[in-house]
């Protein structure tokens, strides 16, 4: 019997309707996703939408269609993800009419190509600026997805330059187990008491704290990114499990309860302001231990 779902998403919090759908049996379902009225999509919204649409489509539902997506979402390739037969091009492409890279599922095998493309593309908007934070942010987040997340659909990545704020934002998301679950699983193995979601996220951001999903994990990745974001006076928005973190230059940092119920996985969005980036320093020296 065919089941039809009509979902209207007008703001970020309403994306939770899609997380709720993942709990349903979607075989023989038709899902119509209406985005009319959604004012502004940030990377954190885009990667979530993409991964949720793909994940729902992978549930062998009959059909999932995006309506009222608009020129912007069509331009960044989000609409084509609705087509379950769509295969991502092997080459990286850019969108001439937008200051964004197309949404992309990134795997370890194409991570280098993606990062190189993103850096090359975004460098046009900040000539002469050191984009180490972009390299490191993308590589660390993508590695984390494949090391720790147990995500059924890998990592989704999106990057864009925003002329009005003269900033670059990039986001990486997965539909894995989430940081709180992962950390608490580790705590159980270590005979330690369970932590709250906030405590788990704080723990994961600390230097040398790792759940050792692989033998070589040393707990340096997230801490390194936080250090770079802080030193470049950027912003971080992180949602994982039922917790979240916001950090902004000037010392604003707070943890919060994820407003989306049934949220799954982790999404991290970093914003860096071009004016705060250092100039590329061509001088090379010997490393002083």
């Amino acid at each position: 019997m065919l089941t039809t779902y009509h979902i209207h998403i007008k703001k970020t919090k309403e994306i939770e309707q899609l997380y709720a759908l993942l709990k349903s049996d979607l075989r023989n379902a038709e899902i119509y996703l209406n985005l009319k009225g959604f004012k502004f999509f940030f990377p954190i919204d885009i990667v979530q939408l993409a991964q949720l649409i793909i994940s729902i489509a992978n549930r062998e539902c009959s059909k999932i269609a995006l309506t009222n997506a608009g020129k912007y979402l069509n331009g960044i390739d989000l609409v084509r993800f609705c087509n379950t037969n769509y295969v991502q091009p092997n080459t990286q492409s850019t969108i001439p009419s937008q200051t964004a890279m197309p949404i992309k599922r990134v795997e370890r095998e194409n991570m280098v190509q993606y990062i190189d493309s993103a850096k090359s593309f975004l460098s046009k908007y900040c000539p002469g600026k050191d984009l180490t934070i972009l390299n490191i942010g993308l590589s660390e987040f993508i590695n984390n997805v494949y090391d720790h997340a147990e995500s059924e659909i890998g990592a989704y990545v999106f990057c864009q330059y925003y002329p009005k704020s003269n900033s670059i934002r990039f986001a990486v998301s997965d539909l894995g187990v989430g940081i709180p679950n992962k950390v608490n699983k580790y705590m159980i193995i270590q005979n330690q008491p369970a932590k709250t979601s906030e405590e788990c996220i704080r723990w994961a951001l600390e230097e040398k704290k790792t759940v050792k999903s692989t033998p070589k994990n040393a707990g340096l990745g997230l801490h390194t990114i936080m250090s770079f974001v802080k030193s470049s006076q950027g912003k971080i928005r992180l949602l994982s499990g039922n917790g979240g973190l916001y950090y902004s230059a000037g010392g604003t940092e707070y943890f919060f309860k994820n407003p989306m119920t049934d949220f799954r996985g982790t999404v991290i969005d970093i914003e860096i302001f071009v004016n705060n980036l250092h100039e590329i320093d061509p001088e090379e020296t010997d490393f002083d231990f």
Partner: protein, 97 residues
Amino acid sequence: MKQIILKDNVKDTYTNAEGASLSIQLKEFIKSGERIELSLSNSTPISSSFFNSSFGDLIETFGYEAVRENIKITGVTSSQAQLLKGYFDAYKDRSHC
């Protein structure tokens, strides 16, 4: 002294696999007592995963001081130096625990 240019000897500086490849290459020289000059000139930034599998692995095998004495790292920009300092300091503290 053996001179190695990083970007010519690994496919990327982001993954565990390539970090492990570098570790294998450097181990042989350290075992034989030959010092290494490793140039990072024109290399992309090193992720923590790459570092863990390369220098981290070498530190776990030979100790922090042996790595410091046997590997000279050159061609480093200020942002690369910031990264490396953080990584090496974390391992130095670990080796003293």
